[in-house]
Subunit: 481 residues, 2 copies
């Protein structure tokens, strides 16, 4: 019970002296923590933001920086796209499930335009131009991309397609700029950072959270929070034990998305006082096949040579399906007309004159790829895909010779992060196992189960980290009644 | 915080008077609780077994009663099967994964012969005969069946096939007899039942569990446990909120396996004091297609008319795959030679002269079933199945006319129960979030994450409930050092 990584709570009666005292302690200075700290400070609360590393940033600073926003933002409008709050809600209820948190999604959509304005007010610049080629950060400074398969089946039949992936105006990965701005905003609002401070446990008094305890340069520090503690300490993709406990498929991910700080400590220290968790099995798995989008003319097949998804959907959906349902054994079959080496250098590992030869070379069961290509081509002759509903513009017969890009785990990067975490109300209150808020405890970002129950679109992590970070910070700062 | 279903712990200092006091309190009088109570009482400890209903039994009393035992039991040997502890271990490590609990499986296999003897000593009768036709309880009194696909791919290549599903000698469902015997054994050993007593929370003293509190006929009762509390309160298949939090696919199960007591309360009251959980996403899903086994000559296809599994494997594996990976949309395609109405009345919903007509009738994509049957028949002409490795004795071409049995959720029963729960040591100590045992707290059965991380074989629930129930009871009864 006494090891430094122990997350068991500490009773306030056992604290002989507090090292610091403030109204709100925010644990973790990433996207969500910066927003929580800003909001709490703006409400007049004293705020300390602890951060285990030597500076602000977290996973968001390393990310491409896509922010999922919609409902008719100025960027969407300038690029000629029509979107409404209702339309965005319809998409998210379908894409973030099964069984997504309707209250959070409703709030997320209702606040989206306001959140865009809030980001602009903080100084985040957006280039009102659209890049049709990628679902990631563009090579240029374009500020808008499709990032969730909104224009592909089944979502294009559920809601009017609109791109909602917004990016700060800078080159390629944009998360660093976003975080520079948000961290400065928090500091300007009066939040005081406490770097090199790793929080390990909550301090409780008769069922209420009244502070946190951790380590700073080898010393134990106890910080008192008069109004509340906000956990914004990231997810658990860098904790293999937790992955094995809750989502074994993600252990196999080869390029974990996050920082070493994503060790689940924020989740566990709350669980240790009876907090409830949700969606712990869920993870986003990016499998970056495109750009170029011409590759979408190809077909993805599994270890039995069978197709399993519409290739024109969001690559994060492809990655989830490949890892969770196809055991990470996937190949992209292309012909000469559709082939290009992809943006990260993935090239055809096999090229053959016929599908039968290709399946032999790859090691697929005899006849399997042959049958799949024959059926696909039969429908493709009239630009149809009745099995998986790939958009007709991407459907044309594959003409041999055919190549295969090896998209198995190993040859291809499977880039996962966790989506499960603490159960919170829309305002960021952490729920106990009975569903009641735990007094004094709040959370946001990847420490929580957010808008995505399982399905995902790029930008929803930074989107819900920043919006619900703001709400959690404001709620925590509210003076006791 | 004060509702009757609240699982938040209670401090012993707040207990003004104890209603009863003993050495070991066992919570839940099912298979695991009976064995825990027996073992604790045999060690000389005073034991009270609480049970929320009016009598012993739990889910096991309603079950078919298969007990997974091997390593060369007298029943296996009498039926002519050779098995060893090592062989059983090799099968279980492959079948109970991915990433199963190796320590528990090793213990389970090492103790299996001894556990068989223990059951016989308690009075459980076994008929040393084998039924080759079913993987469930036989219609007769046969005492041995294949219950986990041991004789099918890939397990038949990993370990020497041996049936390990043992059943007490009585007609069809045998769980009632097993429970009658185990409950009597616990009582004979001196364990005192406390019926109509629903335990809601743990009572703690400085981090150690010292009792339980609950309701009996509307009165709050507090029971002191001098040595330990053993949670054997079942799983959570009857708690839809918990299913949505942790394993949404199981919400769709149409025939939940368990009792209404499987509401996860045992898991949650331990979580409320910082216990760790594991495999909460996992569930067994029975999809009872056979007997008769002749149906295995048919092929199972999904909503895209594709095969997805070897049809000769354990029906619980088929059910898991159908629900978790095929969205519960599955059809069994048969020809006249392989067709019979199955044991529970599932019959062909469609019959057509050609695969093409059949796919149209079912509503499968055009050409999909045609292509699947053509490829299957091509290989079946030489009794091979290179895609899914169904055993050659089950592989022969399907000759039209063809029929389809509707195995979707609704028309067919999907019968799930949960496999996730508290993390425990081999001895039944409940681990906290740091991995350390929580003093005074023990658990076994479906309240815990047992030998099955995800994969399952019939008989493993009663098998690990009874064996690890015995171990947990013995550990809890150990006098303090």
């Amino acid at each position: 019970m006494s090891e430094p990584t122990d997350v068991a709570p500490c009773d306030s009666a056992d604290i002989s002296s507090w090292d610091d005292e403030t109204d709100v302690v925010v644990v973790g200075f990433g996207a969500s923590g910066a927003c929580a700290a800003f909001s709490a400070a703006q409400m007049g609360a004293g705020v300390v933001v602890t951060e285990r590393t030597g500076g602000a940033g977290g996973a968001a600073a390393l990310a491409e920086g896509i922010i999922y926003l919609g409902g008719g933002t100025p960027v969407q409008t300038a690029c000629g796209f029509v979107d409404t709050t209702e339309n965005m809600f319809a998409y998210m209820m379908a894409a973030c499930g099964p069984d997504p948190d309707e209250a959070k999604i409703a709030k997320y959509c209702a606040e989206s335009l306001g959140h865009f304005d809030w980001l602009v007010e903080r100084g985040v610049p957006f280039d009102p131009t659209f890049d049709p080629e990628t679902s990631m950060a563009p090579a240029g400074t374009e500020g808008l991309v499709y990032s969730g398969g909104e224009d592909a089946y089944p979502f294009n039949e559920i809601a009017t397609p609109a791109p909602r992936g917004h990016l700060a105006k800078t080159k390629r990965s944009t998360g660093w700029l976003l975080m520079e701005i948000l961290a400065a905003a928090a500091a300007d609002a009066g939040a005081v950072p406490s770097f090199n401070t790793r929080i390990d446990r909550l301090i409780v008094d008769d069922g209420a959270v009244v502070g946190v305890q951790g380590q700073r340069f080898g010393e134990t520090v106890s910080l008192r929070a008069r109004r509340g503690v906000v956990l914004t300490a990231g997810g658990f993709i860098f904790n293999d034990d937790m992955l094995r406990q809750h989502c074994p498929p993600l252990v196999r991910g080869t390029f974990k998305v996050g920082t070493e700080g994503d060790d689940g400590r924020g989740i566990r220290m709350a669980q240790a006082i009876g907090a409830s968790v949700r969606n712990m099995y869920s993870g986003e798995v990016s499998l970056p096949l495109t750009p170029p989008r011409t590759l979408i003319h190809g077909i993805l097949v599994n270890g039995q040579g069978q197709r399993f998804i519409n290739e024109d959907t969001y690559m994060g959906r492809v990655g989830q399906s490949a890892l969770y349902h196809q055991d990470g054994e996937v190949y992209l079959i292309v012909d000469e007309a559709s082939y290009e080496v992809n943006w990260m250098g993935l090239a055809a590992s096999w090229v053959c004159e016929t599908p039968g030869q290709l399946e032999t070379e790859i090691g697929l069961p005899p006849g399997s790829l042959e049958a799949t290509v024959a059926l696909y081509n039969e429908h493709a002759a009239t630009n149809r895909d009745p099995l998986f509903h790939k958009g007709s513009q991407w459907v044309r017969p594959l003409i041999p010779p055919l190549g295969a890009i090896d998209v198995r785990i190993g040859p291809a990067p499977y880039a996962p992060f966790t989506l499960g975490g603490l159960e919170t109300t829309v305002d960021g209150e952490v729920r106990d196992l009975h569903g009641d808020p735990i007094p004094g405890l709040f959370a946001a970002g990847r420490t929580t189960a957010g808008v995505c129950a399982f399905g995902y679109a790029s930008g929803l992590s930074i989107g819900d980290s920043t919006l619900f970070g703001r709400l959690a910070g404001a709620r925590a700062a509210r003076p006791p009644a």
